[in-house]
Symmetry: C2
Subunit: 374 residues, 2 copies
């Protein structure tokens, strides 16, 4: 019996996944850019293969563990998107020796000096993208900074190849309208194109000019000067993306299957066996117009039930109640009822699971394992 599967488990709707991939491919088709998807969202060979229709295209990774895994599966063109530190130089070297066309990222003189020194000592050819700060949200060099050329010279003098520049419009996740997303997209493009121009002027030939965020990638109007787009969450989508207006709730491809284990009727609570261990502690919609708690509650077919959300989460318990706080709208959900919870943040929720139970047209297709760790 279908409803006897032990819960919680992570579900992946392959049809929605394919639709989401197609949407990004179609969006980028008119532009002369390469899609270098961020596999940190899926951490899964099967999903990544679908991103490339079976090919081994260029990827972005968030950990060297991902690089190890995908290299062993034949993905050689790998951008490690987190600033490199000396304790990872040896691991990066091993990856290159094993055949990876590995691109490292850095944004400061200290890291550049350390890498240059290491590169000279071991005689290894590293390839680096300089990280540009397009919106002040995290890392990166200001696009007009003289530091950019200074770092590029320092690296190239040590035999490190400066292949280009990259940025990430992280602030686009806080947009309040599609107009704002489009403005972030312009800002993201402008920053990295300006940085590439400075490097060009200084005699470098940046062959990679890389941007990446799902909201900006899906709403950009202009990619002139850009060579590649990194984005990850577009394949799955989530409630944060839906809250931004980037996708519809019906596009979200991942959900957590859970089972009703009890009720507190006078409070309007239904208790389920998915707590934060299965859903993650991510509360990304808390700052959006509509706070979805720990996720929207759907029936087994994936249709949202009234205005039910997971309003509280302990380790292995979730408390479902009405978003409006009106217990009259709570439908009867007997013990044993299975429900699907749509996640706030696909990267965080999927990371709580060892793999995906994959569905197509409502039927089970198989199990796709994920990797984890560093």
């Amino acid at each position: 019996m279908a409803d006897l599967i032990e819960t919680p488990v992570l579900l992946l709707d392959r049809d929605r996944l394919d639709g989401n991939i197609l949407r990004m491919r179609n969006k980028l088709m008119p532009f002369d850019v390469t899609l270098r998807p961020h596999v940190k969202t899926n951490k899964c060979l099967d999903v990544t293969e679908r991103l490339f229709a079976g090919e081994r295209g260029p990827i972005t990774v968030s950990t060297l563990r991902e690089a190890d895994f995908f290299l062993a599966e034949g993905f050689t063109d790998i951008l490690y998107g987190v600033g490199i530190s000396p304790n990872k130089f040896a691991h990066a070297t091993r990856l290159i020796e094993q055949g990876a066309k590995l691109k490292l990222v850095l944004d400061n003189l200290e890291s550049a000096r350390l890498l240059a020194e290491f590169a000279c000592n071991i005689g290894q050819l590293f390839e680096v993208l300089l990280e540009i700060d397009c919106d002040g949200h995290r890392s990166g060099i200001a696009p007009q900074s003289t530091l950019l050329v200074e770092i590029a010279h320092l690296l190239s003098n040590a035999g490190v190849r400066v292949s280009g520049v990259m940025t990430h419009a992280g602030n686009s996740y806080d947009s309040r309208s599609i107009d704002e997303i489009e403005a972030y997209a312009r800002q993201e493009r402008a920053a990295v194109v300006e940085a590439a121009r400075l490097l060009n002027e200084a005699g470098f030939e940046p062959s990679i000019v890389s941007i990446g965020s799902t909201p900006t990638a899906l709403f950009t109007q202009d990619l002139s000067g850009i060579t590649e787009v990194r984005a990850g969450v577009f394949a799955f989508f989530d409630l944060v993306m839906a809250g931004l207006g980037v996708c519809d709730v019906q596009d979200i491809a991942v959900s957590v299957l859970t089972t009703v284990i009890g009720h507190q009727p006078e409070k309007g609570w239904t208790i389920v066996d998915a707590g934060w261990m299965a859903l993650s502690r991510d509360r990304g919609t808390a700052k959006q117009r509509v706070d979805q708690g720990y996720g929207i509650v759907c029936d087994l077919s994936g249709q949202p039930i009234g205005d039910l959300i997971v309003t509280a989460a302990n380790q292995e318990h979730g408390i479902i109640s009405s978003r409006s706080g009106n217990p009259e709208f709570i439908p009867e959900l007997p013990v044993g009822t299975q429900l699907r919870i749509l996640p706030n943040h696909a990267c965080a929720t999927t990371a709580q699971h060892a793999g995906y139970h994959v569905l197509t047209e409502g039927r089970r297709l198989g199990y796709w394992p994920r990797i984890a760790g560093w």
Copy 2:
């Protein structure tokens, strides 16, 4: 070189662990109670063995996966602390057939009917604790409810053994003072002792009267009528517990080792390679008097550095800044510097890692693996 270990990794200070275990053992010594630690916090054989000084004592688990794992390691007396649902009956049966003295938990007539029906059909002897609601925070039957005896009769008529009652003072985590914790401890004891009395009056002989939360266990003054204490986080402690006054920051046994990868000097930011994937998204201190962000920043020896905390976290990036917002207090932390981050919530942070790098007196002792999943 010690500072060349790849980060992020989870560290466990075995000396602090042993001190924390000793504190709980000493606290409970004067009372006639059994400690049935919740292994959901550690999910690790080595840690659980230390909880019992090498013995195989009674444990509480949050998943049947934990039950499988610990049973295979010789722990037979297992309380599964999450309300049982029909899709887990078969798994519970397998555990019992493999030798587990498994205690199930339920709090409603529906679950009781379903379990009774299943038990009759397969002729299996299940053992059940009825879950009591002592503070309205989650699941459980009100301690004076007539439902209690009704459920007990229904179960025992089907051959299910009603071994007793259990509760969890979850609201103690929101206490504002030790006085308040002591009040929750009295309330927790009173609720479950009252429920046991009702069962006794109705002719049942509840041999287990079980309470459990780290704050109440450490500050209770009276355990008369209680037979066992479940608690988990006491072994590691965390910033939520420190914020409650239950432990000192210096008692926290787990931390995440991370490396500086860059700076945004004009903002007073230090960027490290521990984001929410390594720290978890838990923000348990957000509602406390002092909000610790995603954790307190310590040097490599474990000493907090000024008022530095992780103020923001992306998947693999953490942003460290001053809690007061005053960038003048930021010490120099060059790229490559290794730091330790103390977690808000030990259960959540440790769950992001495959195991513990164990230290004693500052030296590395080994690696203790964890289990995960359901």
